[in-house]
């Protein structure tokens, strides 16, 4: 800090001195005293001889002097018009005793000399670039040469320039800039080795501040009109690279390689790729070659994007292959290259090939393979950055392609295997997300197997999953479960094969995972089963009426179509014939297995409702009574043994009743058996209200509506083994009676527990509900349900309501009013039928 203040003070004083000398210099110029003007200019320039300033501050001082030199130059130009030749001046300024001021003056006069046409440009430039070697101090030398570079701009014997011809040619111009560049680079590199080792960091920072002074030379070379590719490749590039390589300085190599890549035209790089790449292995091991290569590859990729013909040239020159080779050579030579750098190089290569040859999948595979080989033995070494890069690399192919295509790359999983489990998992999630986002269908067994290899960490257990909470697992597994719907084969047979394969993988996971994935797997199976049925029906109807077949099939097999639009029905049939044929029974058997495994998780509710869906499908789509029965039985077992929570029991029973009501496959005996179980479950529910409602619901089991499809008058699907709808008025009435008994019991219980008290009229809404069911059945024409029966109940309920009027809550009151309104509506609609009803 103190040093800093000192330096600031020093700069202030130096700056003052510059001002003072510049003043006298200008004064001398006004008086036309050349000798004095030179004397003061040398004194002014002498301030630049300091070693005390950091490059930043030195630059400030330099700029101040630079501005003043402008005045001097104007004066010199004037001197010439007064008859003093610039040749004399050029000698005169060389009498200055100190080398730094002398050289600044020489540059100033020398450039005027060229401009005035008094001397050959190349002669003066050669002289200047040589004499400036007198300044070996890095900072001072760099600024002096920067001044030379800057002042000589436009005075070079470039092709087409007025200074060419007599004054030299493009080769001289190139030589000049290259020489200056090399000298500057040497100075710049030397800075690194001067001063105490502990200041290394500061020095590097200071050097970075100076890098553009060095790079300017290259910029000017690249801007020469006469710079042809031949000249570049034949002379400029080899000399540049020689300098870059031989300076053995990381910072310089890093910067200069980038400067070369950024500075010269794309076409040059394209044509001189070999030379550029061959320099890379020779650079210091600390140079970030990946950044260099990335720049090069990115440039060429952009070039290709702007000019389609470049793609061809890149192919012709085997650019990709060269990059592959170059990277492996670099890796070989720098055995200690950090994994992160290696991966970054391959990531850049991946970007290149994806940008230039998006169609070349084999390139992607080669990059993956090469990267994997490069990392073989050392792995990522636990470097989080390397891992991040690898994820980026692995993500790239997923960005532009669907996951299935990427899954076909055999080099992908081994490389992915290098990731830590956690990252591998992130990557796996990315694969899943991509598949989901792109709606990719994974339609072959091989792809499915590969996919699960990719996402193994999501599916399988590992020790470090312990720290995952329920929510994390859910979030993850929901993704996997969603993806299962994208596993869609062209034929139902193959579909089941795929689902079986998926299950084999999912099974490896913990129950906590299965809970989320198995329901999805099961529904995939159900969807497949529906396709299977549709396909079979199509075959049958196809046999019957060939002409209509294809149209029907298109309608019926919508899912199949969506899954594999390209697959023709013929191909699908062939695939099934090839051995993966499956029938509904085995499919349902498989679903039963899945459901039971889910029950063991344990997830009884999930298993139970799945069993019910399967039961319905077995009944209504497959017409397999025994299996349907089996599903119900298994569901009942779960209900009895595994569902403990009373609310769950209510919900489960609702589902059982609703499903059974929809099943038409059962013989009377089987149906009775199932219904009896339901009735007994209903009676055993915890709350009277639930018992009552369940009894009402169960009453519907004796009164089925005709199956929906037939009712809508569509072509009836010929489901084998379908029984006619059950219409048993007796049982309906019995069911409702049970409900009434529950209410009566509830009323008594209330009376017993809350004698005289208020607020205990829970049985009343149940009464109203039962009234509504009576009315429902009356409307449906259930024989035993006459207006008289209903009227009797209405009166009972009416009197109950008035008895408990004080306790009546608003809901029940409103319910009763709504029921009365309903009755009025019924009467209005059919006065004859409902004449006897009076609310």
């Amino acid at each position: 800090m103190e040093q800093d203040a000192e330096a600031a003070q020093f700069l202030k004083e130096a700056s003052l001195s510059v001002k003072k000398n510049a003043y006298f210099m200008r004064k001398a110029m006004d008086e036309d005293n050349l000798r004095e003007a030179l004397r003061y200019s040398a004194a002014m320039l002498g301030e630049l001889r300091t070693s005390f300033l950091s490059p930043q501050r030195y630059y400030e001082l330099y700029m101040q002097v630079f501005d003043e030199l402008g005045n001097l130059e104007a004066y010199f130009a004037d001197e010439q018009s007064k008859g003093r030749t610039l040749a004399e001046l050029y000698e005169l300024v060389q009498h200055a005793g100190n080398v730094l001021p002398r050289l600044y003056l020489m540059v100033a006069v020398g450039c005027l000399y060229i401009k005035a046409g008094g001397a050959r440009s190349s002669d003066i430039l050669k002289d200047l670039v040589e004499m400036t070697k007198g300044v070996q101090h890095p900072t001072r030398g760099l600024f002096l040469r920067a001044y030379l570079c800057q002042r000589s701009r436009g005075l070079l014997p470039d092709t087409g320039s007025p200074y060419a011809g007599e004054g030299g040619d493009i080769h001289d111009a190139v030589d000049f800039l290259l020489t200056n560049f090399m000298e500057m680079n040497k100075l710049w590199v030397r800075m690194q080795h001067q001063g105490a080792p502990r200041d290394r960091e500061r020095r590097e920072k200071e050097r970075q501040q100076l890098q553009d002074l060095v790079g300017k030379n290259l910029t000017y070379i690249s801007q020469l009109d006469g710079l042809t590719f031949e000249l570049y490749a034949g002379s400029v590039l080899p000399r540049l690279l020689e300098q870059v390589v031989s300076c053995k300085d990381e910072l310089a190599q890093q910067y200069l390689m980038q400067a070369v890549i950024q500075g010269f035209p794309d076409a040059f790089h394209l044509a001189s790729l070999d030379a550029l790449l061959s320099a890379l292995p020779e650079l210091q091991s600390g140079v970030k070659l990946h950044a260099v290569m990335a720049s090069l590859m990115d440039r060429l990729a952009r070039y290709a994007a702007s000019d389609p013909s470049v793609v061809g040239q890149l192919l012709e020159r085997h650019a990709f292959e060269k990059f592959v080779e170059s990277i492996s050579k670099v890796a070989e030579l720098h055995g200690d290259i950090p994994a992160v750098s290696l991966v970054e190089m391959y990531a850049a290569l991946m970007r290149f090939t994806e940008g230039v040859h998006p169609d070349k999948l084999e390139n992607v595979n080669r990059v993956l393979g090469a990267c994997q080989r490069g990392l073989a033995g050392k792995g990522l070494g636990g470097d989080a950055k390397a891992e991040k890069q690898l994820v980026a690399l692995l993500s790239m192919p997923l960005g532009s392609r669907d996951a299935v295509t990427v899954l076909s790359l055999d080099q992908y999983p081994p490389l992915m295997g290098l990731l830590s489990r956690r990252t591998h998992k992130d990557m796996a999630l990315k694969v899943v997300t991509t598949t989901l986002a792109q709606g990719t269908c994974v339609s072959s067994l091989e792809s499915v197997e590969m996919l699960f290899k990719f996402i193994a960490p999501l599916v399988q257990e590992a020790e470090d999953d312990d720290d995952m909470d329920e929510e994390d697992i859910e979030e993850e597994q929901v993704m996997v479960a969603r993806m299962l719907h994208q596993l869609t084969a062209p034929t139902p047979g193959l579909q089941f094969a795929i689902l079986r394969a998926a299950r084999a993988h999912l099974e490896l996971g913990s129950p906590a995972r299965l809970k989320h994935t198995y329901p999805a797997l099961a529904f995939c199976g159900l969807k497949a089963l529906r396709r299977l049925n549709a396909a079979q029906q199509q075959q049958q109807s196809g046999a019957a009426a060939d002409a209509d077949a294809s149209a029907d099939a298109n309608g019926a097999e919508k899912d199949a179509e969506r899954a594999a639009p390209a697959a023709a029905p013929a191909a699908a049939a062939a695939a099934d014939a090839a051995g993966d044929a499956v029938d509904a029974e085995s499919a349902l058997q498989w679903l039963l297995d899945v459901a039971l495994q889910l029950a063991e998780v344990p997830a009884p509710m999930q298993a139970l409702r799945l069993l019910l869906v399967c039961a319905h499908v077995a009944s209504e789509e497959a017409g397999l009574e025994m299996l349907a029965y089996e599903f119900f039985e298994q569901a009942f077992t779960l209900y009895e043994e595994s569902v403990a929570d009373s609310r769950h029991k209510v919900t489960a029973l609702q589902a059982i009743v609703g499903t059974l009501h929809r099943c038409y496959v059962f013989s009377a005996d089987n149906r009775d058996a199932l219904t009896q179980s339901v009735t007994s479950y209903a009676a055993k529910l915890l709350k009277r209200a639930d018992q009552c409602r369940a009894a009402c619901a169960a009453s519907h089991l004796a009164w089925q509506e005709p199956p929906a499809a037939a009712a809508d008058g569509e072509v009836a699907v010929a489901v084998p083994g379908r029984q006619p709808p059950v219409r048993d008025a007796q049982k309906v009435m019995a069911g409702l009676k049970r409900a009434l008994k529950v209410v009566a019991a509830a009323k008594q219980q209330r009376a017993a527990t809350a004698r005289g008290g208020k607020g205990g009229a829970q049985h009343l809404p149940l009464y109203v509900e039962i009234v509504n069911h009576y009315l429902y059945y009356l409307a449906r024409g259930v024989e035993s349900m006459s207006v008289g029966v209903v009227q009797q109940l209405l009166e009972l309920v009416g009197s109950e309501l008035s008895q408990y009027d004080a306790d009546l809550d608003a809901e029940t009151r409103s319910y009763w009013q709504a029921t009365q309104r309903h009755i009025q509506c019924l009467k209005a609609a059919d006065p004859d039928k409902y004449a006897g009803l009076n609310a």
Binding site: L436, E471, E474, E475, V478, M479, A481, R482, M483, L484, H485, Q486, H516, P519, A520, F523, L526, K527, R530, K558, D559, M605, Q606, R609, V613, H616, V617, E620, T651, Q654, A655, V657, G658, H661, R662, A697, H700, E705, A708, A709, V717, P765, V768, E769, N772, H773, Y776, A779, E811, S814, Y815, Q817, A818, T819, Q820, R821, H822, Q824, C825, A839
Partner: protein, 192 residues
Amino acid sequence: MVLVLCIGDIHIPHRATDIPAKFRELLKPGKIHHVLCTGNLCSKSMLEFLRGICSDVKVVQGDFDDFESPEHLVVELAGFKVGVCHGHQVVPWGDREALAILQRQMGADILVTGHTHEFKAAVYEELLQVNPGSATGAYSATSQEAVQPSFVLMDLEGGKATIYVYQLVDGEVKVEKIDHTKAAAAATAVTA
């Protein structure tokens, strides 16, 4: 005007991968005032999705939901009493008269239920019943037909309900409009 989204039977991840992209585009935050969900979201992430559309989300319990929600609920919206229930509890499933029993019990001007995966809007005894169908077109055991994804948007204002049905048919969104006026009788009690 009050815009109410009725949506349900999403069944992600059990039966479907995602809400159709075209629906997602329509269901942008900031337009809808209330969401009534008929249940069977099946994953919490879908609940989050709904909450992203509008902060006021009411959900009832579906038969495949593993998180706890009310069996049914009634909300007052723009002068309408709207009842919501998943519907698997009502036997026979989707039956108009059976649902009417529930509707009377709830005293609802509009009853929103799901479960059948089939859009339906019916007026029974001057009361409106709406089923928004399945937003994902999820597999349904009861319907052998391929299910069309659908949801309903209700515009409630001054005793008038305009029902917009959004259906995805062959990849295109189709909108139908149904007008309904609240029954005058519903407001008056029969017994004094």
